[in-house]
């Protein structure tokens, strides 16, 4: 093998080395170039274009017309937008709280020495991999007046509920489907976090007389904080932007009771062809997701990061 240093005259070694370095950095750029081009077009150009469109009036056909911040000022007085915004926030909050509590509870239970723990993990994860469209269609039938859900609540003595027919219950129904479809993911991430905590901590505290509840509250939960924050942040982001279940199961109804913001953006942009206004809504949605993420990290994440 001809080593580079021997192959060239000594005085050229450093120059040769520099050119080798330059060559290698060009090779590196070559490897990342397809990806960089992709993200430049389909993410950064796209988001810049969305921002531009949000200042225009556009029907997707004739050239866009610049109207400044008129879309944004109109949205702040638009009852459709404001109602979708409040539905989205209510739905997100109503779903994320049980989602995290159920997942945390199941993860704590699975972290004990449980027979068939692997089987439970697989079962809980099945709804996560089932297509959201399938989940929405199945649950749409389960929530029928004489469907499985009303049969189940009948067992505990509750009269049949008007799940998808009433504005109030339709949102609850969507929350239930979202929790069903998402808790398996959160449970597994939290369980992984619990398994990385050395059991000796809890044992030591127990020997010193701490109750099981105190061990969980004062040792387990603080050590689990990074994972809790992670699943809460990803769940909130997913819920704020969720589209499939409200679209397929209720199509935003009854009336506009479950017309979440992503659904309103879709309808405004592609059905009513108000692409400018839809883009302004999309930017407000982006802002909300960023604020929520930042807020969670601020509130819970200072010592986590």
């Amino acid at each position: 093998m001809s080593s580079l240093a021997n192959a060239v005259p000594r005085t050229d070694v450093s120059r040769r080395f520099i050119s080798l370095q330059r060559r290698q950095s060009l090779v590196g750029i070559g490897f990342v170039l397809p990806a960089v081009a992709f993200f430049a077009i389909f993410n950064f150009y796209a988001i810049g274009y969305a921002l531009y469109l949000s200042f225009t009036s556009w029907d997707l056909l004739t050239p866009p017309r610049w109207i400044g911040i008129a879309n944004y000022t109109a949205l702040l007085r638009d009852p459709n937008f404001l109602s979708s915004l409040s539905i989205t926030l209510r739905y997100t909050f109503e779903a994320v709280v049980p989602l995290i509590l159920i997942s945390l509870g199941l993860a704590l239970l699975l972290n004990q020495r449980v027979r068939l723990s692997g089987l439970y993990q697989v079962i809980y994860f099945v709804p996560v991999v089932i297509p959201a469209v399938v989940a929405a269609i199945i649950w749409g039938l389960l929530f029928r007046p004489s469907g499985v859900v009303n049969n189940a609540v009948g067992v505990v003595g509750v009269d049949p509920l008007p799940w998808l027919a009433s504005a109030e219950y339709a949102l609850h129904a969507i929350v239930i489907v979202s929790v069903w479809g998402g808790f398996g993911y959160a449970t597994l991430i939290l369980l992984a976090g619990l398994q990385s905590i050395p059991p000796e901590y809890g044992e030591a505290a127990a020997i010193d007389g701490a109750s099981r509840w105190r061990v969980v509250r004062d040792i387990t939960l603080p050590l689990l904080a990074p994972r809790l924050l992670f699943v809460t942040a990803t769940s909130v982001a997913a819920l704020l932007t969720s589209f499939v279940v409200p679209f397929v199961m209720t199509n935003g109804g009854p009336g506009t009771a479950t017309r979440v913001l992503p659904l309103l953006i879709y309808q405004t942009g592609f059905q009513f062809l108000h692409a400018g206004q839809a883009s302004a809504m999309a930017f407000i949605l982006l802002l909300i997701t960023l604020v929520f993420t930042a807020l969670q990290f601020r509130l819970f994440g200072r010592e986590v990061l």
Binding site: M1, Q24, S25, V27, G28, F31, V32, P34, A35, V36, F39, F42, F44, I47, L60, R113, V114, R115, Q121, I123, F125, V126, V129, I130, P131, A132, V133, V134, A135, I137, I138, L141, L142, R144, S146, V148, N151, Y185, L188, I189, L190, A192, P199, E203, A206, I207, P226, R227, T241, F243, V244, F247, P262, F270, A275, A282, F283, L286, T289, L290
Partner: protein, 293 residues
Amino acid sequence: MSADVTLPAGRSLAANRSWRNELMTASLATQVLLILAAIVTVIPVVWTVLSSLKSNDTIFAIPMQWVPDALHWNNYSEAFEVAPFGRYFLNSAIVAASVTATTIFFGAMAGYGFSKFRFPGRDVVFGLILVTFMIPFPVIMIPLFVLVRNFGWVNTYWGLIIPGALTGFAVFMMRQFIQAIPGELFDAARIDGAGEMRIFLTMVLPLARPALATLGILTFLESWNNLLWPLIVIQSDEMETIPLGLTKFSTLYSSNYAQMLAMAVIASLPVLVVFIVGRRQIINSLMLSGIKG
């Protein structure tokens, strides 16, 4: 409990074990709760499979019946006649396979480039790719549609595949994995005169196989399940993917419950098979994804 110190070793071990038992061993209540959760989780799935084999008018019979009186397999064959589900299935398979292939290939290329080479602006560009994690799809769907329309890809496989051909997560995951492979391996091959593309194809890709498999599984699941993008970019029946075709079917034939459920089963089969085969990889990758920093 200073007395513990003077206890014989055996005694303190026994005490320790009993603490461990109390803390770690699942009680009956734990088992009951876990089983209850599992039952609630699978009931919709079990009901779907059973109901896909019932006759249409017994699905909402009062009182409810769980088990079909006879196995009506014809729900499946009839659904394939009412709508071109075979074609939907093929479209979904083509799109999901293509998206998976491009994602792991270009993800691995970029992951290799970002982890094993130095070049100006590397870390800034990688940071920008991480920023794409934060962009919700509804925010960019209108510009993406306009782009695809300008390229002439509306209602084509290109239109379905290209905008989803890579994700920031793929680049991130491959970079993390390839970073842990010692770079000396590649330097040795370089000294032996191997070309850069050959090193990537014959060394980096095989060494990164576990990460490629996991990324491939996750990408396939996500692509197969996607509804919103096909809904935007597809305009004719024969180009629909299975989530889109199933959604249309459920509104057009909203009382063909049995056929709807039969196709719900068909639509879920590939992802369930992939999940069962790749469950180890999926679960392991979740364990990693929760780690911050």
